[in-house]
Symmetry: C2
Subunit: 341 residues, 2 copies
Amino acid sequence: MGSRLGRRLPVMADVAREAGVSHQTVSRVLNDHPNVRSETRARVLQAIDKLGYRRNLVARALVTKRSRTLGVVSFDTTLYGPASTVYGIEQAARSAGYFVSIVSLKSIDPAGVRDALDYLADQGVDGVVVVAPQRSAARALADLPLAIPTVAVEGGQAGEVSVVSVDQVAGGRLATEHLLSLGHETVWHVSGPSDWLEAEGRVAGWRAALEQAGREAPQPLAGDWSPRSGYEAGRSLARMTDVTAVFVANDQMALGVLRAFTEQGVSVPGQVSVVGFDDIPESAYFSPPLTTISQDFDAVGRHSIEVLVRRLEDGLQERERLVVPPAFVRRASTARPPEGR
Amino acid sequence: MGSRLGRRLPVMADVAREAGVSHQTVSRVLNDHPNVRSETRARVLQAIDKLGYRRNLVARALVTKRSRTLGVVSFDTTLYGPASTVYGIEQAARSAGYFVSIVSLKSIDPAGVRDALDYLADQGVDGVVVVAPQRSAARALADLPLAIPTVAVEGGQAGEVSVVSVDQVAGGRLATEHLLSLGHETVWHVSGPSDWLEAEGRVAGWRAALEQAGREAPQPLAGDWSPRSGYEAGRSLARMTDVTAVFVANDQMALGVLRAFTEQGVSVPGQVSVVGFDDIPESAYFSPPLTTISQDFDAVGRHSIEVLVRRLEDGLQERERLVVPPAFVRRASTARPPEGR
DNA sequence: TCACTCGTTGTTAGCGTTAACACGACTTGA
DNA sequence: TCAAGTCGTGTTAACGCTAACAACGAGTGA
């Protein structure tokens, strides 16, 4: 298969010689140029096949100034959300004919984002998707002089970049309205870290739903997305006798909340109802199975590539914003409030 | 910042002109060539800074025939294990000065692996890490005529490729021995899909530990890593009155098992003890917190890059195999067996 | 018949870098 | 003092591809 050791890989000129044409004709065949006689084309293709020739994309990139590589900058791809988004991005990019080069950041300070973009720019990527869920990252992106077409995922409002995101506010609303509709007087909230845009959006949705129903919004408890922080919030909540419904900003923290409630003998959903966010694969098997809000990460990834490719290939200039709606998933962690609590 | 619109990016010749030297001298400065007068070097650096020059890595790759890009082929990076491994790989590669290009496969048939490698080869990667946890993928890899230096993660024995993996057999042993040491008569097993090498290794470790203790190995129940399949296995186990200890091949399935036991009124660890595998971030907050085996995915990722870079830069030819030991994590899902069961 | 167009192919000139070699100015040692 | 290094630098030629243009024969309309 063209790997006879010690021989150098065939180049276009070798194919040309084999087919008895010029290397430019080979190039034309490879690039589907219309003006090539079909007989010639066949001869070239046969030579390509015989020699096991593969076009050198680096040389091609040098002359065309396009590498057909997209960069992805993301924060901790170990987390379910980012991992799923990046997965969606990668699938979409590949099927659009682009390679994907990834940088995943431990901490997402503005300098980190800047460095990552420089790094990718050096590599010669044609465009970049930045998964920038923190406000600071989004701001950094907005302030940067962007030499390369860029799309932000969950990237806030500012700046010139296009943004694709899940409607977090709607998600927070959905969760809260569900609990209110079951008859709960009010809904408590365990939020994500305050500099995360997603956390902010969910808080806003929760607050809006309460306000609309004319209910008082209790002080939210702040977590950091980890089950551990949910557990701590859960211990606090278990001590308060007037809590009957909690909207937790992600499923992992909800797991911690459930754990704390179990330990304290608070029954879910008997005494307290709990709603999570994300719909991770595990949440259907929590005890009890978790009612939650699902985000279509895959769609987010796909859309971000669509937007980017539109800009790259059709030369679209105006900035786009695309919002993916979340979905409500009813399971067993929510019920009507208890009679006498 | 060198981004004055409408002007083309500066190239080496521009820097050379600015500094009053030849472009080759600029190249020497950039590549830390020793024979450059320090005064000249300073002048060049100043010109680089003034023009905001950045070296074109594509042109460089064309002439050096090395792209400083590594490819990663992985199966479903949405799963915690692969995601963490890929994360470790990416970090290690970047700090070794390599870019990382990712292909994540939905299904990992041999043709898929082959295509992914071809695809990356076209892009001009210098080396590849294949996360190949299925036997079929490992076999495909072993059979392939590998034009590019390749390292397999969890890749089995065959072929010429170097392999980095976690010692799954030791993990299975650890889990089983722990349960036996608590006084359980025997240990049941919920395994992963049979074509996964990891599943196979865990089964082998479990079987070996039982054999060594002179116990009968019950028929293992086969799952597919999902909480759902664990739940189903759990329902079967709950019905059998002689089960007091279960080793589940991953934490997600263990979650399903716990859920089934809870539903059937089987108390954990009161009546049945459960051990998982992986130590995902959630498992400390399961009900009860899960005793499990932790795998250092990060170390696996790092080692795979070390092996690859050794081959790339020091020209090492012999194939290496590196095994990372798993660790036992005791939590609250295991206890002595009940008296009269 | 001639001028013109069109389809097909070849020739030449880059893209921006590094490698290889050439060359003069110094040093060094006999 | 001269042959033989070193050092610092410049010149030229690739790397493998595409873009731009040139060339040529065949068809077309006047």
